[in-house]
């Protein structure tokens, strides 16, 4: 017996993601999905970003195969931090975020930061219900990653070039990155930052705050002057 089906395979994930986005946005919070390879500085960026957001209340969800180390690193500065251990899975799913959202008082959140599992391929395939995707790309990784992993850069709202304080020690051609990005997405924003030194951190914070106003709109309770 042959049966025609026509079922979208990622439908269940996408539906959960849509619900997450609505829950967050209705409560006035901006969902930010941080994606990068392991070791590009996601957790360090969070450690520097949360205090720089001033009075804003930030919740954090961290995905790793094992350990709660990253959630512990930000636990003192976030309103709440939840670690998800994905076991063998190389990315987070929307339904894991749905469950984690139950741990937060959403009305009390201005931002929800989701630190995805370190991986430049799979996290780009699974919508979690975030409002923006932030891709971190550190200078020591070399200048060929946009061409090698285009799908993740295609969906980026902003590319943060991290560890700019050691840029001069890396063999790196920024024009190559910009050229490869232009082939994928004319509108993507690129910012070189150093979390350690604080370089360009204010531009990054301004961008985040503007996204909150733009995407969460009237529900945004706090707008930076």
């Amino acid at each position: 017996m042959k049966v025609k089906a026509v079922k979208h395979i990622l439908e269940a994930n996408d539906e959960a993601a849509i619900k997450n986005r609505k829950r967050l946005t209705d409560a006035g919070g901006l969902g930010v999905n941080f994606i990068s390879s392991p070791g590009s500085g996601k957790t360090t960026l969070l450690e520097k970003t949360i205090p720089a957001l001033g009075d804003s209340k930030v919740g954090v969800i961290v995905g790793d195969l094992q350990t709660a180390r990253d959630a512990e690193r930000v636990s003192g500065m976030a309103v709440e931090s939840v670690q998800i251990n994905t076991g063998l899975s190389c990315h987070l799913y929307a339904n894991q975020i749905s469950e984690a959202l139950d741990e937060f008082d959403l009305k009390d959140l201005d931002y929800l930061f989701i630190e995805n599992v370190g991986n430049m391929v799979c996290p780009g395939e699974f919508d979690l219900g975030e409002n923006v995707k932030v891709i971190l790309y550190s200078f020591p990784e070399g200048d060929d990653k946009v061409a090698k992993y285009p799908t993740i850069f295609k969906v980026a709202d902003i590319v943060l070039m991290t560890k700019s304080d050691i840029k001069e020690h890396c063999s790196f051609d920024m024009s190559r990155i910009n050229g490869d990005l232009k082939k994928l997405n004319e509108n993507v924003k690129v910012l070189e930052i150093s979390s350690q030194r604080g370089s360009n951190m204010s531009d990054w914070i301004d961008w985040l705050e503007s996204q909150r106003v733009e995407r969460v709109g009237k529900a945004a309770r706090f707008v930076s002057e």
């Binding site: 025609k4 979208h8 395979i9 799908t151 082939k183």
Partner: protein, 121 residues
């Protein structure tokens, strides 16, 4: 590695369609795969073999049909063939487009057995 997640989701859909049709076993699954999803066929086959173990879809054949990606330029409205690493509109020479096709993974059809006598293949 996302092939394993996708195989898992596919299995959920397959088992649900099979249950709706009162099937006892699944023989063949046809899956439409958009090329932009970066599914590696060999890895997907292995994943399918793994996730279907001890289910009524164990031993089923997974047929993958690749779909070439198509973009639609947000500036001039032209539809054009998208490359894995380039989404530039040939007319505008700018990458600012929506993906019309090639980004979906869709279960298209199933071949199932309902009774013991149909099982031989």
């Amino acid at each position: 590695m996302h092939e394993f997640s996708i195989a898992d989701e596919l299995l959920n859909q397959v088992l649900s369609v099979a249950a709706q049709n009162g099937a006892e076993s699944v023989r063949e699954v046809v899956l439409e795969v958009g090329k932009l999803r970066l599914i590696i066929p060999d890895v997907m086959q292995n994943a399918w073999e793994g996730v279907t173990k001890d289910t009524i879809a164990e031993g089923s054949k997974l047929v993958m049909e690749e779909v070439e990606p198509l973009g639609k330029c947000n500036r001039c409205g032209r539809e054009f063939s998208v490359e894995f690493d380039s989404y530039i509109c040939p007319a505008c020479e700018v990458a600012d487009c929506e993906i019309v096709r090639g980004n979906d993974i869709i279960l298209q059809s199933l071949v199932m057995d309902q009774d013991d006598e149909d099982k031989q293949d």
